[in-house]
């Protein structure tokens, strides 16, 4: 029997196709996103797969919501795969950091950095029991220093460092944490980031499926602390 996965931001884009792929492989799922109609649509589309799918709409910045997600995973068999995918791009159009709204910046940091760490903290007892895997979704913006990407980029850079730190801290408890840069994809968020651009040359998020198939097939303890590029040419298992 496959494990129980929690995917945040599962209503559209990468989260949606990843949830469907995991369901197809036999993972039971708890999925969440802020938009009820989208989430219900995803849950309905997974009915035929035969796995258990619990869909709870809400904002992962809300501690009550986080607790209810993890109650559901515990009620199934305990969480073994946590995918922190829900992300906030920040103000649109993307402002320069020098003049960005600090209040809006805090919302991005809450969603992209604090909430994932909060979910991990609260999920530790379950992850310890299942020797589980945490996947934090990152971005090449975390390393770029590109103009007007300072809000999103710095939140993801911080998340990358949190991933590495947690990986080291949680290794003795047999919990693995990795960070994944999915690469450019034709998603709603990518369109938001480039509002006036035609993004039809970017691949659909399905382009990352081979990577996800590979990642969830690995022994989590062999890949602790790694940062992967889903569209890269090498997915390495460290020596």
């Amino acid at each position: 029997m496959k494990g129980v996965a929690l995917v945040t931001g599962a209503g559209r884009g990468l989260g949606r196709i990843l949830a469907a792929f995991l369901a197809g492989q036999g993972h039971d799922l708890v999925i969440t996103s802020r938009t009820l109609t989208e989430l219900q649509d995803v849950a309905r589309s997974l009915e035929s797969t035969g796995v258990k799918v619990v869909a709870i709409p809400g904002d992962i910045r809300n501690p009550v919501h986080r607790t209810s997600l993890l109650q559901e995973t515990r009620a199934i068999r305990g969480l073994s795969l946590l995918v922190n995918n829900a992300s906030d791009l920040g103000e649109i159009p993307r402002p320069e950091l020098a003049s960005a709204s600090l209040q809006r910046f805090r919302v991005t940091l809450e969603t992209n950095l604090v909430a994932p760490i909060a979910l991990i903290q609260e999920a530790l007892p379950q992850l310890e029991q299942t020797r589980g895997l945490v996947v934090n979704i990152s971005s090449d913006a975390s390393q770029g220093g590109y103009k007007r990407w300072g809000i999103y980029g710095s939140s993801k850079a911080a998340l990358d460092l949190a991933s590495k730190t947690l990986a080291a801290e949680l290794k003795p408890r047999h919990i693995s944490v990795v960070s994944v840069d999915p690469g450019d994809m034709r998603t709603g968020m990518h369109q938001d980031a480039f509002p006036d651009e035609d993004i039809s040359d970017r691949p659909l998020p399905e382009v990352t499926l081979p990577f996800w198939a590979w990642l969830v097939s690995q022994d989590p303890e062999q890949i602790i602390g790694m940062r992967y590029q889903a569209q890269g040419t090498l997915w390495e298992i460290p020596a």
Binding site: P203, E206, A213, T233, L234, A239
Partner: protein
Amino acid sequence: MRGHDRDDVRLIVSTPEGDTHHAFTELPWLLDPGDLLVVNESATLPASLPATSRLGEIRLNLSTRFTDDLWLAEPRWSPSRPGPLPLIMNETLQIGEARAVLLQQYPGIPRLWFVRFDTPASILMAKRGEPIHYSYAPAYPMSDYQTLFSRFPGSVEMPSAARPITPHVRDTLRERGIGIVGVILHTGVSSLEIEDNTVEHQTLYPEVFKVPEATANAVNRTHARGGSVIAVGTTVVRALETAWTPKGVRACSGATGLYIHPGTSVHVIDGLLTGLHDPITSHLAMLSAIAGLARVKRAYTEAIRNRYLWHEFGDSHLLWRQTAN
């Protein structure tokens, strides 16, 4: 198949100066003491399964293992008749008592599907599998699809370049002071049907590989002493070039999607020992990256004129790089 013994095949040697013809057993004298052969130690699986579908009896050729119950696989009408078949997501195939669900098509390669089995694929292969082959004629016995160096099961098509290396040739190489070390790269199904005629656009799926530390060290030592490193097969090129860094080759394992074509650089290997294959996009792209398209074409013309035997049971080709290291 030519001759009685595996080394009873011909060898065309391509250098920038021209092509020469040899018996394969001359290989040890065509290399210098201190040179290093790198072979693929992956062994071949009986990866072709008979399956019953909504469309009738078909073949399911396994390609790439993720876990024992999740594979990338190619449904075909028959060994000689490729797809794509009009199959749909979540459709079920029957393999004996076992069921296989088609989860998703591979992005960019619609003839390949992610397939989930309710019984470990290793059990299905042991019971019903046969070697993948593409002709009307039946497959050869499984042992014909292994080489002297096949140690780690995982390939679905024979890494065939080492096939003519017999114990006699191996021992002669060693006596001449030519080293032999191994990497592992588990091959997926070959691109017999081209997906895209533009060489840079070819989509390749990743393959599981390992370059052990001892092999990385042997490659670096060989280069430090001025010797040549010869990849035995394009799979070895893929593995070694993936493990390349500006400081040399490092121990490395995982999955590689590296695609070597004329627009990329080849850093590690000085020569490639390979079979003569149909000029499918990805194979020709790698050969051209090593020696340039003109030289590859020249060698193939020369081989055709001299009636060399093609494919994995045929004759052999030693291709030296464009510029010596």
